[in-house]
């Protein structure tokens, strides 16, 4: 069995503009959970979490269920048990996680994401777009976001966000 070495998508050092920092986060195991029809509640019970409503995250300890579409959630930071009443697929190596945090994070995202995030709170998530890239946006707290997008688009995502940060920094407060 060959020794496989896990590599980050970017290996980029964090950047800060306008008191707001973009960083690449370690992505723990991430599993798509699509319950069979009518099984969402049972699946949630088996995972020890409530199956999330649209635009919501449920969490306990380091494990989260992040709503990701119709009848679909991503299990992050936990392992799906065998025999779950759901279609289960490991997505871990297909995604990249970036964090954007700081006083002007909402203004940066306003340039890229077609949502009003000024009142965003922990517990919310949005399946949306980062310019043209598919995005799962998780609200960690005030001015604090995790951005999940496809790993194949990691460099584009990083470029888009940093560009927006530079432009926000160039404007007066």
């Amino acid at each position: 069995m060959p020794e496989l070495i896990a590599k980050p998508a970017l290996g980029a050092a964090p950047v800060t503009h306008a008191g707001t920092t973009l960083a690449e986060a370690d992505l723990p195991q991430m599993t798509a959970i699509a319950p069979w029809p009518g099984q969402a509640e049972a699946v949630g019970r088996a995972l020890g979490l409530q199956f999330p409503l649209p635009n919501a995250v449920t969490e306990a300890g380091g494990t989260r269920l992040v709503w990701a579409g119709r009848d679909l959630a991503f299990l992050i930071g936990g392992v799906a048990p065998e025999g779950l009443a759901a279609a289960v697929t490991d997505q871990s190596d297909g995604w990249v996680a970036l964090t954007l945090s700081g006083a002007r994070a909402v203004e940066v995202l306003a340039r890229l994401v077609p949502l009003d995030l000024r009142a965003a709170q922990r517990g919310q998530t949005f399946r949306t777009a980062l310019n043209h890239l598919p995005l799962i946006l998780i609200v960690e707290g005030e001015g604090d976001f995790t951005l999940l997008t496809f790993r194949s688009m990691a460099r584009t995502a990083w470029h888009e966000v940093e560009e927006a940060m530079v432009k926000v920094a160039a404007r007066a407060l």
């Binding site: 635009n55 119709r70 009848d71 399946r127």
Partner: protein, 87 residues
């Protein structure tokens, strides 16, 4: 333009993909006359006023949606999931 997705809530037009007339949901029987298939695939009324069409929430929950809108006033009247009992 915004559509209020039954799952995601009000979202910007750029999250959606437009497919065409909701007539596509009314598929003729396999043995229907060629005229029925011609109507189904090609012939549209193009009224000024209420129309129904299909949109896909591509950069969102991935639901197909039936949208009723008014081409005169630009009002979006209803946005309904095509799949029953979505959650």
């Amino acid at each position: 333009m915004r559509l209020t997705c039954p799952l995601c809530g009000p979202r910007d037009r750029r999250e959606f993909y437009y497919y065409g007339a909701a007539e596509y949901l009314n598929r003729p029987a396999p043995d229907a006359a060629p005229e029925a298939w011609d109507d189904h695939l090609h012939n549209r009324d193009n009224p000024a006023g209420l129309v129904q069409d299909l949109w896909y929430h591509e950069q969102g929950c991935c639901s197909w949606l039936k949208v009723t809108r008014n081409t005169v006033t630009h009002e979006i009247v209803t946005v309904e999931p095509v799949a029953g009992g979505a959650a």
